[in-house]
Symmetry: C2
Subunit: 334 residues, 2 copies
DNA sequence: ATGAAAGCGCTAACAG
DNA sequence: CTGTTAGCGCTTTCAT
């Protein structure tokens, strides 16, 4: 059995109430007894039982975090931001990897609720979050973040994908490119929509004709990039620049291009989106749009913390962070 | 206030004990009352309070996980293994990113103890774990894993680095290489020692002269690889193969080689260790030693689970997992 | 300044 | 079968 305040009380010849007071720095306890109690508790190797304490104080410094897949190039950085800020405010994190499965997500939400977390930070697996809302029932605050965030989510940290895509196009046109194709897997999420819309709008504003090539085989990531480029090579004169929905697709595009003996960036510039960790390796050197990942995590926890502090009915807020251009060697002046 | 069994009891006109029994599927309760209680609990939207339950049952299905840095190419995969197995056994995970700081590690250990986790999975920040042992005082089981695991750690999941390095050398010599240099940052951990020893022993067995080039500028990762190769180029005839302590260093080596106009693998073969996520990208194509990362996580939790099940005094166990060769395009026959 | 008592939400004997 | 009672480890009035 672990040592409890009862043990300390017995040892010190005082009541448990006295021990509690001494240990929590309350004023209504004599200085000498306090010191003695503290000394004894140290001698006995006492570790406070937060669980028991929280039961009575109804305070709880644990926050649940739900992430679709921690082994991606994106989420670990976000988690770092969350973790760092959590330490700052003294929160403990319960992390669940939902494996991009609604089933798993639902299960985790239940577990978190049962474990009485104070709030939830979730990067949803799908656009539809009704199963989450249904279980949580407004009992604790939730902040949403990540790729599936959409306007229907009340409290969220988003990134301005529309603006990010425009940044990419403006940079490319500034380099003299006119024939810029965007390659995309599908239009599944608001993130994708925004990037495509930003590309389209930016092209129009420059008086250029936008062309988005979608993949209809259900491919994602690198494979999707490879396949898209192969299709383009087969059916059309090459564009001077390719803007990919994300870095993984861009890398796939570079692979397909080099496989066909086409020089990057001399013949075709390639631009990605996300700035995943290895985009900056010299061997890859992918020009891309950087996302404030760490900051996303920070803000998510910051916002949750605010909601936990204020009176329960804080107004809902959406925070939108701005992406930035990262120029490397996969793009060049035409 | 959230709904409690008291609310259900009142609503159903029974005692809280009856509710508890009904909800926990105990036999000594009438089938009709059970059904009614369950229906009401559902209507009221009851979520069991695990915290309170654990206080009385003294059971706890939460496990603390400490990782030096979740935003690396290695740990996320290990965490996946832990997470998956945790779900299987119904454990919830408290994750702490210790940022490779002893300070932070100590703090997390405290928090975990206060939150009364059932056990701990830790990938220590340093070889010295006395601060951990001191706080935990054998009160709960700990399983160690990761790069700093050494023979002093009683319960651990390790990977056979000695054997892994031999695998690399044997493969390289099989390709006809005789002049194989190993590059290493320092000899800080047992992992590093084992890899260097494995390399040295394998070379000797083939009747070849081992040569390990250390970096004395305190560099790590890619920069260290770059610097090591530059030194070698400056001071010595080129070896036909370079075996790097880890993939990041290998990638740095490839960078430095290509910067000097030396073809990989035609002029020099490069071999890494770890098989980090992007080693397999065609643009990198690094031959390396794969580590069972996911499995490490699985086994760690599995072992902890075993210790949690058995009588507390289970014998201590060390598990050693075997690495495997991954051949790609950075190495070739001489 | 200190302690007795009540109670957080729940389970576990033990009676009835 | 069902309810009463006690108590997990801790905090918090409220007396003393």
């Amino acid at each position: 059995m672990r040592v409890t305040i009862k043990d300390i009380a017995r040892e010190a010849g005082v009541s448990t109430a006295a021990v509690s007071k001494a240990l929590n720095g309350q004023p209504d306890i004599g200085e000498t007894t306090r010191l003695r109690i503290i000394r004894i508790s140290r001698e006995l190797g006492y570790t406070p039982n937060m669980i028991a304490r929280n039961l009575v104080t109804k305070g709880n410094k644990t926050i649940g975090v739900l992430i679709p897949d921690i082994s991606t190039p994106i989420y670990p950085r976000i988690y770092k931001g969350i973790n760092e800020t959590a330490m700052k405010y003294g929160y403990t994190l319960l992390l669940g990897d939902t494996k991009r499965s609604i089933e798993s997500e639902k299960k985790y939400i239940m577990t978190m609720m049962e474990n009485r977390v104070a709030g939830l930070l979730v990067s949803p697996v799908s656009n539809d979050i009704s199963h989450i809302v249904q279980v949580v029932r407004g009992q604790i605050p939730i902040i949403y973040f990540g790729g599936k965030v959409n306007d229907a989510m009340q409290n969220s940290i988003g990134i301005d994908n529309y603006h990010g895509a425009m940044l990419a196009v403006d940079y490319l046109t500034g380099l003299g490119h006119k024939d810029i194709i965007m390659i995309c897997d599908d239009l599944d999420t608001k993130t994708r929509h925004d990037r495509v819309d930003g590309y389209t709008e930016a092209m129009k504003r420059k008086g250029l004709k936008p062309l988005v090539v979608f993949n209809n085989e259900g491919l994602k990531g690198r494979q999707c990039g490879v396949s898209a480029i192969r299709h383009i090579i087969a059916g059309r004169t090459l564009p001077t620049a390719v803007f990919a929905l994300n870095d993984l697709m861009a890398i796939g595009a570079m692979e397909a291009l080099s496989e066909a003996g086409i020089q990057v960036p001399e013949a075709v510039s390639v631009m990605g989106y996300d700035d995943i960790s290895f985009a900056s390796l010299p061997m890859i050197g992918l020009s891309t749009i950087w996302q404030p990942k760490f900051k996303t995590g920070e803000m998510a926890l910051e916002l949750l913390h605010k909601k936990l502090q204020d009176d329960p009915v804080t107004e809902d807020r959406k925070i939108v962070l701005q992406p930035e251009l990262r120029i490397r060697t996969s793009t060049c002046r035409i």
